[in-house]
Amino acid sequence: MTMPLMRPKRKNPVLRTPQINLPPGSRGRVALGLTAAAAQGRFALQTCEDCGAVQYPPREACHRCLSPRLRWREQSGAGRLLATTTLHHSNDLYFRERLPWRLGMVQLDAGPSVMAHLHGAVGDDAQRVRLGARLDRAGQAVLIAFPIEDEAHMADDPMLREMTSDPKFRKVLVTDGKTAVGQALVKALVKAGADIVWTGHAEPWKKLPGMDELARLPQVSLVPLDVTNGRSVTELAGEIGGKVDIVINNAEVHRGFGIAARRGTDVARAEMDVNYLGLLRLAQEFGPPLKGRAADGVTHASAWVNLLSIYALSNFPPHGTFSASKAAAYSLAQCLRAEMRPAGIRVINVFPGPIDEEWNQQLPPPKLAPAALANAVVKALRDGVEDVYPGDVAQEWLERWRDDPKVLERELALNGG
């Protein structure tokens, strides 16, 4: 069984903050297929289109028939643990700092035998296990054997916690608490056991419903933060940047205009100022302190979440300028991910479809409920994934986009989705 994580003691301020050493992070192009699937929460292996063989490790050709026609297909992960071992020594700095470390050989029902990390709830006896893929601290896929049946506190397993960003006992910044999504996020994080949820409060003179209720939660601390104001971002980062473990940037401006529907550029500029430049301002100020605390105890700094939009993938003309700003933010978020990964901080991009909020009031359902979006964000943190497409609309668009982006573009232009 997994021991529940106890509230960690306060940090000893006379000791040097440990710095992150990453596990081995280089992978060949072929092996990145495993990582790409894991980054989206899937365990996929190469399967041969010709003979049907499933193989691991990834290769250029089928190990059985030498066909190059290989496809990554999602796996159930069902298999049998054959043998286990415990590392008590490693020359690799990452593992050296985390010994002992348990490994096991798993024979997958699909065929291959793999070496996997063992969840603490998996004993040493031969047994049925469920293999899953997770991203490790270097952002690369690793395989983990889980017990067949879930048990209590599984997320508190020290090895798993290394690879995920569970909000439990962590200190989180939600950049905008004034929106329905922001408030749902704050509540979901509190429910998930977050220690502190700093909640951004721009233009405090604008009284919006829900803020008083939020402020009454003991974990919640309202902080002045306006992402359009560089000085506000700098000041808040100076104040709390060194304590934030997870940044969730949900600040956004959303209006429903294309090019012709609104004269001038003021709305488009406001969207860019918040949705794109806001992220840039936050990343410049909160990125460095986050990177410096990536190995700071069991509640180390771990993740950065961006609320993007499925419209970032392909422009939704009725919300054309919003789509463009989210596409810009998406591009910048990829840059942020590239800069944060070497520091062991995960960047999670969330691509919801239309959210059930006031700027989508006239849009027919299905619309993603703010609470559902918030739960998807918490789940993404717990699962340690990189990309999330919550809700049916996002899933469907993603599928169409993967199928053929050009066809999707035409469809969106014709009938608005």
């Binding site: 003179w205 359009t228 506000s232 209006r255």
Partner: protein, 267 residues
């Protein structure tokens, strides 16, 4: 033969040098935190003041410090020109670049409503307030600013300054009748307020909506808002210097508002 300096300006220079005439700053500092006027979110919005460093004796500019800033024409302490309002849209010389510069230096009368506003943030200046003022201080001269002192600028917390609740903003301003009296009977140069607009926070519900904007600008008069330090001015006798930026066809502009005050007594 040396030219003679004009006597009045020489006296002014001497009075400024000796401190007999003091210069009082009626301007709020431009900061990103100073609130901007808030319209319903679906409408076009006035930009708040924003500032970004260009360089500060660093790799971006080793020997110098400077900033870029952005704001709207109606950000911070600012001037309203007649073209700002639909009622003044067709008047001649109605924009900040075409207004006669002669109008940028003018006397000011200050009516103290701070007592009333303390009890009622929605307080509206009445015609009776004006008549009471005149009974003590004399008739408001044509071409003078009428400044409504409310001490509203003492509210340093932006939340208290904006004073919103679910029915909107609650800040003082003039009644529709008082505005019409000032325009028709006194021919003032304009109206100045310490709150975020020349009209009261609930001015949209007066008749007509926003009467100060409607009547003042419709008659070619000006507005000043977000003023501060009005409590340092005498009821009459102060001279305002308030030239807006020369923005082509501008509807207004942030500006520095200075008052010349004679005598050392008031402070």
């Amino acid at each position: 033969m040396p030219t003679q300096a004009p006597a009045l300006l020489t006296q002014l220079a001497t009075a400024l040098a000796t401190g007999d005439i003091r210069v009082i700053d009626l301007t709020q500092t431009l900061t990103p935190e100073f609130p901007q006027i808030a319209l319903p979110p679906e409408m076009g919005q006035c930009w708040p003041f924003r500032i970004e460093e260009v360089s500060r004796y660093d790799e971006r500019g080793p020997g110098w410090y400077w900033n870029n800033f952005s704001c709207g024409e109606h950000t911070g302490t600012h001037f309203d020109a007649p073209i700002h309002w639909i009622s003044g849209r067709n008047l001649p010389h109605n924009a900040v670049d075409t207004i006669s510069p002669q109008h940028f230096v003018a006397p000011a009368c200050v009516i103290d409503c701070s007592g009333q506003v303390q009890n009622d943030p929605d307080y509206l200046l009445t015609v009776q307030d004006i008549l009471d003022f005149e009974a003590v201080h004399g008739r408001i001269p044509a071409g003078a600013w009428l400044l409504m002192r409310t001490d509203w600028s003492q509210r340093r917390d932006p939340e208290a300054y904006q004073n919103f609740d679910e029915t909107g903003q609650h800040t003082p301003g003039p009644s529709s009748e008082a505005v019409q009296f000032l325009v028709d009977e006194r021919d003032v140069l304009g109206f100045g307020s310490e709150a975020i607009g020349t009209d009261a926070g609930q001015g949209y519900h007066l008749r007509p909506p926003y009467p100060c904007h409607y009547f003042m600008h419709g008659a070619g008069k000006y507005g000043l808002q977000c003023l501060t330090n009005l409590h340092l001015l005498p009821p009459t006798g102060a001279m305002l210097i308030c030239p807006p930026l020369k923005i082509q066809n501008g509807s207004g502009s942030p500006l520095r508002v200075l008052a010349l005050v004679q005598g050392g007594g008031l402070s």
